[in-house]
């Protein structure tokens, strides 16, 4: 069981010892029942920190912002920043370390174990109480949450509204950390790729129909890209001008640059965008589910990434985020890689 007081104590200690610049954690949000990220510099304000099943965000994203900020500063503050990481988040830190985007000394990891549970899926809660207005949800560290609607308060086991990714979680505790709170016992997962079965069992034309409907909804707001801790490229290939524009870049040069994917949210461009994103995340996506959570039109984006995670596991025995010292999936190979599809 994670003791919140221990988390606060640890966070306070590193702030007081001036070990870190600030702590990124979760706090109660004024905007809704889910926790929101908080940046704490003052050790006296450490009481704002919370930890429960409403802490859905992957805070590793803020490491990217911090790196950019450091790069811009004339005299960068080189102290590390501390972030609170769940199991999945710690694996995304691992991938960033593997790709040498950040250094281990740049970050202090306050690991919290999800233990037998995980985090909730807000959409699932909303579905449970369809037609009613959810006024308040009380989270605490117990395996139940109390949902208040106009009909009164109902107790609901968290297990029933757990996010899909938590049901298939392969690391319910942090795999890299400086301080660990909570148990390091592995949760038993029967089918790590169970959510894919429904789509995989369809015939190809049905699968096409499914994805055409889903990706057809995309409005290309790029929220998935913004929320993804692995999407850290300064220039993205899907942007119309995906190259450095300097003062002396001529209009001809800009016009002649290949536009791989157009901005318009049409079928072919949407497929292009999402497939390229999936390929670029192969062997890097650690299934934190942020892309799917932030999607305003509820595209099941996780499935695309999960499919490639499954391929990486089955074809190449590669587990993203577990071995930061090994080379990345697509920059390595084994002699025995399958080639039965090659003629």
């Amino acid at each position: 069981m994670v003791n919140l007081d221990d988390l606060k104590k640890e966070a306070k200690r590193i702030l007081q010892d001036d070990k870190v610049k600030y702590v990124v954690g979760y706090t109660r949000s004024s905007a809704g029942p889910l926790a929101s990220p908080v940046f704490i510099e003052d050790p006296e304000k450490i009481g704002e920190l919370i930890w429960d099943a409403s802490c859905v965000q992957n805070l590793a994203k803020f490491l990217l912002d911090e790196k950019r900020r450091k790069g811009r500063a004339k005299k960068p503050d080189t102290r590390p920043i501390a972030i609170v990481v769940k199991g999945c988040d710690s694996r995304s830190v691992n991938v960033l370390l593997q790709e040498k985007y950040i250094e281990r000394k740049d970050v202090f990891l306050l690991g919290v174990s999800c233990e037998d549970l995980g985090v909730v899926d807000q959409k699932k809660i909303a579905q449970r109480f369809e037609g009613k207005t959810i006024q308040d949800i009380k989270f605490d560290l117990s395996p139940e949450l109390a949902v208040t609607t106009e009909d009164g308060t109902v107790k609901l086991p968290i297990q029933e509204v757990l996010a899909d990714r938590c049901l298939e979680c392969q690391a319910n505790f942090p795999v890299v950390y400086d301080v660990l709170l909570g148990d390091k016992s592995r949760k038993k997962v029967d089918e790590p790729f169970g959510s894919l079965e429904e789509i995989e069992s369809m015939a190809a034309p049905q699968r096409w129909e499914f994805w055409q409907e889903q990706l057809g909804k995309c409005v290309r707001c790029y929220a998935c890209r913004s929320a993804c801790p692995m999407c850290y490229c300064d220039e993205c290939v899907v942007d119309t001008i995906a190259f450095a524009v300097a003062a002396d870049t001529s209009a001809e040069e800009k016009a002649q640059k290949i536009k791989w994917i157009e901005k318009s949210p049409t079928k072919s461009e949407n497929f292009g965008y999402h497939m390229v994103r999936a390929i670029h995340l192969a062997g890097r996506c650690i299934d934190c589910g942020e892309c799917e959570r932030v999607c305003p039109v509820s595209i099941p984006l996780r499935h695309l990434n999960k499919k490639l995670e499954k391929a990486a596991k089955q074809l190449f025995d590669y587990n993203a985020g577990f071995e930061p010292d090994k080379p990345a999936l697509v920059s390595s190979f084994r002699d025995e890689d399958p080639e039965d599809f090659i003629r």
Binding site: K267, F333, R343
Partner: protein, 140 residues
């Protein structure tokens, strides 16, 4: 005229083996279907998944990526990287519902002109009954 459908194949051929293989087929006057648009790339490992998706987007009915046999790569290990990457692209294309027959990879050495012609012949035979690829094609 109600003839059979003539598919378009975009073939990414590596400069050192497959392209030379297709050249051999040409200079040896071997007969094979003219449906293929060969694009020479420096190495099969340099074929980005973007090239493949864009070939489909611009109207290819089938895409072939061809490189040197394992161990024969001019750049020592480019085709091993390609093998991994293409396997992932293939998984993804199948997952979104594209016919798996539309995307192929092959090893063709500079001496295998006959194998190259056979691959193209078979590919055309497979693509003909499938008709035009409209799924990933850009809407006009």
């Amino acid at each position: 005229m109600a003839g059979k459908y003539e598919p378009t194949i975009v073939a990414f051929l590596c400069k050192w083996c497959s392209s030379a293989g297709s050249d051999l087929a040409g200079v040896s006057r071997m007969q094979y279907p003219p449906n293929v648009v060969p694009i020479t790339v420096m190495c099969s490992g340099s074929v980005s998944p973007l090239y493949i998706l864009n070939a489909f987007k611009k109207g290819a009915d089938g895409v072939l990526v061809s490189g040197c046999h394992p161990g024969d790569c001019h750049y020592i290990k480019g085709n091993y990287f390609a093998r991994r990457r293409i396997a992932l692209v293939k998984e993804l294309l199948e997952f979104i519902g594209l016919e798996p027959e539309r995307f192929k990879m092959s090893w063709v050495s500079a001496a295998e002109g006959t194998k190259y012609t056979q691959i193209i012949k078979d590919f055309v035979d497979v693509l003909e009954p499938l008709g035009p690829q409209m799924k990933l094609r850009r809407e006009q």
